[in-house]
């Protein structure tokens, strides 16, 4: 959790702080520079000039400590799954997970026969947004980030009502 989450009752100050914080969080999603497989190439292409994720303030960071979003771009194997969980744990709150492509969503082409492939990354991590595609086209990836933005805008730092 961040510094001030879940301490205050919802009131006028909290809601206006919410508005500012959510604006800042959703406008500055820094994903981890981390490619797993085929989707990583498409992720690179989306970061590059043609589609330019930087327009939305999406700016890849090499270290999990400074990133807000774990973009799982590719097949997650059982061996990699452990490391993925470690990476997720190293990220600071608030953190989000985007599952990109069929492999991450459900094992994709390897869902039936891949004994070493995790059938859906939601088995090991809490996924916020799923992007279908194999690999998703850059438009789909941008859509995914926009969906994540919508999701962040609904957050509140107020105490969850019991």
């Amino acid at each position: 959790m961040g510094l001030i989450e879940g301490r205050f009752e919802p009131n006028i100050i909290v809601t206006s702080t919410d508005a500012i914080f959510n604006w800042a969080r959703s406008r500055s999603i820094w994903p981890l520079t981390f490619g797993l497989a085929c989707c990583a190439i498409e992720m690179m292409a989306t970061n590059a000039s043609r589609f330019d994720l930087d327009r939305f303030g999406i700016f890849p960071r090499p270290t999990p400590r400074q990133s807000d979003c774990l973009l799982i771009s590719g097949t997650v194997t059982a061996k990699m799954g452990e490391r993925l969980v470690t990476l997720y744990e190293q990220m600071s709150e608030p953190r989000y997970v985007i599952s990109m492509g069929s492999c991450a969503n459900s094992g994709g082409p390897y869902c039936d026969h891949g004994y070493h492939v995790i059938k859906g990354v939601d088995q090991i991590l809490p996924v916020d947004v799923y992007i279908p595609g194999c690999p998703p086209r850059p438009e789909a990836l941008i859509d995914g980030f926009l969906k994540l933005r919508d999701l962040i805008m609904k957050e509140t730092i107020a105490k969850p009502s019991a």
């Binding site: 327009r55 069929s102 094992g107 994709g108 082409p109 059938k119 799923y130 789909a140």
Partner: protein, 249 residues
């Protein structure tokens, strides 16, 4: 010593050349190649594998796509239409003979290889322009393309079941008749009993051939009975509502 200065000169000159190139790119910044995606949408090509879509009215329910799929994500089911029923024509010109009661695609597993679209004769399964929408849950990626409303599906299933029962009864009757006749002409009746079901099957050989998996239980039979209203108190849930599919693994 000459090498030392040459190195410095090379360093300085190549840095300047590089700076010249990047400056050229910077200076003509009006011509950025970026497509501002949500504001300006890139036109998709005819063949772009963006969004799989099946037009239920044009689908021949031949199950070719389900068989071509490397990951078996197409879950389809059809019920043979009644003989008198007119379902329109397929794009290939042949009359549509099957009700498509279930056509579900699990997009979370789709590999977008295009094998299913290739084998589709009627081109009812095709790619559509906007990219597949992102979802917040895995279940939302499970999409259904069958257009028959749930109560109609229930009716069709009931009708099909009834048809099966009728068929079975018919068969039983025939068998009984054969058994009765057997007393009189044992050898001849036996041959007749064998020939009749074969004739019944020959009426729709294609449909019989294409039935796989869960449809195997339904026997293709040409029944003359008219349509009957479906039983409203059927315990079966509607078949074509998207349901979260439990993970197979």
């Amino acid at each position: 010593m000459a090498g030392y200065f040459k190195d410095i000169w090379l360093g300085v000159s190549t840095v300047l050349i590089g700076m010249h190139i990047t400056f050229k790119h910077w200076f003509k910044f009006k011509k950025a190649v970026t497509i501002q995606y949500p504001h300006e949408i890139l036109e998709m090509n005819e063949r772009t594998r963006a969004h799989l879509f099946n037009v239920a009215d044009e689908c021949a329910v031949c199950l070719q796509c389900a068989r071509a799929c490397p990951v078996d994500i197409i879950d389809m089911q059809g019920i043979r239409a009644d003989k008198d029923e007119d379902l329109g024509l397929l794009p290939t010109g042949k009359p549509k003979r099957m009700h498509l009661i279930k056509f579900d695609i699990d997009f979370s597993k789709c590999v977008y290889c295009g094998l299913c679209v290739e084998v589709c004769d009627t081109k009812s399964l095709h790619w559509r322009a906007p990219v597949e929408p992102c979802t917040f849950t895995r279940e939302e990626m499970y999409k259904s393309f069958a257009t028959i409303p749930p109560d109609e599906v229930e009716r069709l299933i009931a009708f099909d079941a009834e048809r099966k029962v009728k068929k079975a009864e018919e068969m039983a009757a025939k068998k009984a008749a054969a058994a009765a006749a057997k007393a009189a002409k044992a050898a001849k009746a036996k041959a007749e009993a064998e020939a009749k079901p074969a004739e019944a099957g020959a009426d729709a050989p294609k449909a019989a051939k294409s039935d796989v998996g869960e449809e195997k239980k339904e026997t293709p039979a040409a029944s003359d009975t008219p349509e009957k209203p479906g039983t409203p108190d059927s315990p079966d849930a509607p078949e074509n509502t998207p349901k979260p599919e439990p993970d197979k693994s």
